[in-house]
Amino acid sequence: MPYALIAALLMALVTYLPRVLPIAVFRKEIKSTYIKSFLRYVPYAVLGALTFPDIFSSTNNYGTAICGTVVALILAYMEKSLFIVALGAILTVYVTGLFL
């Protein structure tokens, strides 16, 4: 098998296992309020850390990235859909990239 295919399958495996192991193995109800709260807060914590600061280096230009981030924050604050927020950020980066 070629290198890229083996690597892609390995990646698929180490992506699939963390997704299914807990849900397949652990079916008891958690009683602890602390653990329950912790689990509820995980997605917000992880997405925050994934986004900042990497978003600022996502476009090869700090200026356009900052503009795109601000527009994404405003659109998200207005509770627009994923698609609108992503599209708004891309367009902002593209248009400001013509000037910056």
Binding site: A12, R19, V85
Partner: protein, 244 residues
């Protein structure tokens, strides 16, 4: 209402909830297709990775390593570390799914747990049925692969200014997920800020430079959610199954 009708309704309701994710994935997956083919992978390989991995950050990082010709262990380890967060999401969903869901059904819908499908599922009121989960993940799986194919097969025709601009798509999507709940819940806002502050500290304080970015994400997440759960425990649950 008979049983098969409930299944269809659950699937359709889930699919509707997944449609904004489907649309949001297309520009992000498009970026992935551009990146993979730009780095020398075959367009079909890019689509294959999206179909089998169905993940954003881990797959971007792993594919970058493939492009650089890294060893299998490094590729697997880096991808795994970025994806450890799915264990927390999977554990969280294990508390929310319908107790009647079988092990095999878990192995099927578990494939489709992503940051976005998880966020939508965890914000549902009541228990999650198997057919709801299938409906929820169907659109995003299609959008992720389709977007990748679009990017992979058109990459040579796209000007660089546009492909640079698309680099922000992934992060804009994350912002779209976290801002609305952060607006309504002060604890959520604080937890996002704590997590980001820790991530910044790990990244820019030289003392911590030995920590890779994947591990920095994990440490920030565990500390952010851990501190948050200690200060703002959630007392109320929504055990009532909501019929739509």
């Amino acid at each position: 209402m008979n049983k098969s009708q409930t299944k269809i309704n659950d699937f359709v309701y889930g699919f509707k909830k997944g449609t904004p994710i489907l649309l949001g994935y297309i520009p992000v997956a498009f970026t992935f297709g551009l990146m993979a083919v730009g780095g020398g992978l075959h367009p079909l390989m890019a689509v294959f990775i999206s179909l089998t991995n169905l993940t954003s950050a881990g797959q971007f990082a792993g594919t970058n390593l493939i492009i650089q010709g890294a060893g299998y262990l490094e590729i697997a380890l880096t991808t795994f570390v970025i994806n450890i967060r799915y264990m927390l999401m999977s554990l969280s969903l294990s508390q929310k799914i319908d107790p009647k869901i079988t092990l095999w059904q878990c192995l099927v819908f578990g494939f489709g747990i992503t940051d976005e499908t998880f966020s939508v599922a965890s914000m549902e009121k009541g228990r999650l049925s198997y057919f709801y989960m299938l409906g929820l993940i169907a659109g995003p799986i299609f959008g992720w692969s389709f977007g990748t194919a679009l990017g992979a097969f058109t990459s040579s025709a796209l000007p660089e200014s546009l492909s640079n601009a698309m680099g922000i798509a992934l992060f804009a999507m994350f912002i779209a997920i976290i801002v609305p709940p952060a607006k309504k819940s002060r604890p959520v806002l604080m937890i996002v800020l704590i997590s980001v502050a820790i991530n910044l500290a790990l990244k820019y304080i030289p003392l911590f430079s030995f920590i890779s970015s994947g591990f920095a994400i994990i440490i920030s997440t565990v500390l952010g959610a851990g501190i948050g759960a200690a200060i703002w425990p959630i007392k109320e649950e929504n055990p009532v199954l909501k019929e739509e």
